[in-house]
Assembly symmetry: C2
Amino acid sequence: MDKSTTALLTDHYELTMVASALQSGVAGRRAVFEVFARSLPEGRAYGVVAGIDRMIDVARRFRFDDATVGHLVDSGVVREGPMTDWLRAYRFSGDITGYAEGELFFPYSPVVTVTGTFAECVVLETVILSVLNHDCAVASAAARMVDAAGGKTLIEGGSRRTDPQAAVAAARACHVGGFDTTSNLEAGRRHGIPTGGTTAHAFVLAHGDERESFVAQKATLGAGSTYLVDTFEVLQGIRNAVEVVGPEIGAVRIDSGELAADSRAARVLLDELGATGCRIVVSGDLDEFRVAELEAVDAPIDAYLVGTSLVTGSGYPTASMVYKLVSIAADDDPESELRAVGKLSPGKRTIGGRKAVQRIIGPDGNFIAEVLSVLPVELPDDCMSPQVTLIRNGESAVDLTDPGEARRRCADRRARLDPADRTPWPARTPAIPTIWEGVEEPLSAAVVNGAAR
Amino acid sequence: MDKSTTALLTDHYELTMVASALQSGVAGRRAVFEVFARSLPEGRAYGVVAGIDRMIDVARRFRFDDATVGHLVDSGVVREGPMTDWLRAYRFSGDITGYAEGELFFPYSPVVTVTGTFAECVVLETVILSVLNHDCAVASAAARMVDAAGGKTLIEGGSRRTDPQAAVAAARACHVGGFDTTSNLEAGRRHGIPTGGTTAHAFVLAHGDERESFVAQKATLGAGSTYLVDTFEVLQGIRNAVEVVGPEIGAVRIDSGELAADSRAARVLLDELGATGCRIVVSGDLDEFRVAELEAVDAPIDAYLVGTSLVTGSGYPTASMVYKLVSIAADDDPESELRAVGKLSPGKRTIGGRKAVQRIIGPDGNFIAEVLSVLPVELPDDCMSPQVTLIRNGESAVDLTDPGEARRRCADRRARLDPADRTPWPARTPAIPTIWEGVEEPLSAAVVNGAAR
């Protein structure tokens, strides 16, 4: 477990806001911030929550040690005084509630709610959004590919297409979204996700003769491993592989060309050669659309290896989550009532007040609507709330180390959507409506606090 | 400086290839790998090299300590034996040549060339590509925005839209591409990039009254700081700010609405109020296209704050770099001649042999062409080579700690392009042609080694 501070993985203005809030006296007022996305990416039916584990981790490691405070003073970001005292003592001691990892989200879903003093909450904005915007974007893309693949094996292999540390988080997010294995070894070590991989074209080329490379692979990785057959010509590659490995060959991988036609020709040839149990893995610029097209024509493909589009969110590399103040007390008294606040900025209005969520469930278990209301509400029987307590009084309230639980949750939640919305071209976007109860919708919002006008 | 190992930030198959190569005997053969992108993103005239410093750092920290080897054996990735001996002894001892940071690249430019034994080079593939694909994508987007902004100040503020560690690298890449400041405090600490920021809407809302928030900001950050004026209504926000701060107010920020019209109205009002020196900063879903549009209508904007599109590569979050074996010796003898190798996979052919680069320069200093040839060549007088030695015999051969040098190089190189190619809609894509000298072009390539057919 990394023990290093995350305190500088943040925006300059988080600290200048705290300094100014200490000056004006709002720093210590009880406040509520919410994280949500105003919309899903175009054409998407749902989003997948991921990164909750990382968010908790970075929030708990958000501490200002002497070296960090010294740097901030030396570089002129803050001045020695009440602000540096506050930084040295900083430790998030509030509450964080959020959607469970693997849960689905829709427009305005309050994915995370942070409660504490204004200053202790506001300072976490950047680091919380960084984690959620990245991980939710990747998990959401992954789930769409899982939907498209109709039960086939899905292999994540995008590490080389994204930042090396982001790659580890991406691998975990893909696993939550339903991918089976990853190429990323650190994701295997840190999160226990199954890893896999055999050889690349460079390995075949290094041997000059394709058969020699297959001989070496068989001796080391066994007949049951996956043989890359498209370095020169796919069908000759398959003949070479079966000749060297035998009909018990585990799988062949095709990384280029016309995957539908090539996989069909490969299947026919493999069967002719007696390698009827040999699986066909394909890769090469795949995304959910391409996978769905290959499935639609019944290409005899057993596994899809996806890289670039997956770790970059398939066109939407960030989940558009924002972190907004929705309530604040009038003074420092912990008993003071919270007042709802929202901004009027064109296109970016926010609805004040802490939101409660009821996800309405039909008699078949399917989701019907996401109902948002300002607290307090009684949850009726035919609904569930996706919100769970993550941090209480600064302490972790959940164990999030196993991504398998989030993965199962994601599969369960997606199964509660109409199948017509689980394709790359969903019937409804979003799959279920977001209904505002007791408050006007954001687009026509009468903002609760307009005092400054 | 981070001393931790980067050895697991890699793909599973890099290690299974090494194990198989140790088995077959190719592991110790001298080899050359090249990193290049087959094409630029659609509509782009050039790419910007960034991440060279990080690449050197992760390559030098790529070591397998006992805990790492133990994990790999326990998880079945490798077996105890020659492979674990090799891992424990691993230390890259070859050479790395590459384009200097801030240099421009074009299709097939050999941005990095790695020379050493096959095994010691192949194992670095994933981590080298991760760094370059991310950092080059961001720097390339940044430079386009700098081109579009016509000399106005550019502020990077995208940390919240990307992974927290990737955000630090993104901030550095943006600085190389020409951005002036960043919001990211760790980028300030680690790379000495100027950081900035003042307050967010939450700060204004927390005070209820906009004027109160400006009073607090002035007391802490001074009159010369930037005041956010669009929480409720821009012009009233400006009146409130000038009333509180005085005509010496440093800047106002507008984060929403119609930026061209609003900045014009803001300028008129600021001038009326005597705040003629007050700068106007705008933000909100900007990219190079939007910036160019605002410049085209002469909007009175002094600084652009860009976030999402910048750190996600403005539609192209990865630079499509690949890492390909281009030459390998026939045996382990260090004196053996290298033979060129390339693959025939449809759409993914590679040209064997180590490439030399001549960038042809016209009499006005402008770039005319990028000429690629297989070594050895004599560089003529009217050209330069963008390739520099980065690592020699495993040791760093350059000091890359100052991103300012790369930033100046990037500005110099971009100034050598036709101005018509330095817009979001360039006249030529790419700006200069890539000319193959003495080898056929990749699309019609006769691959040097076709032995396996």
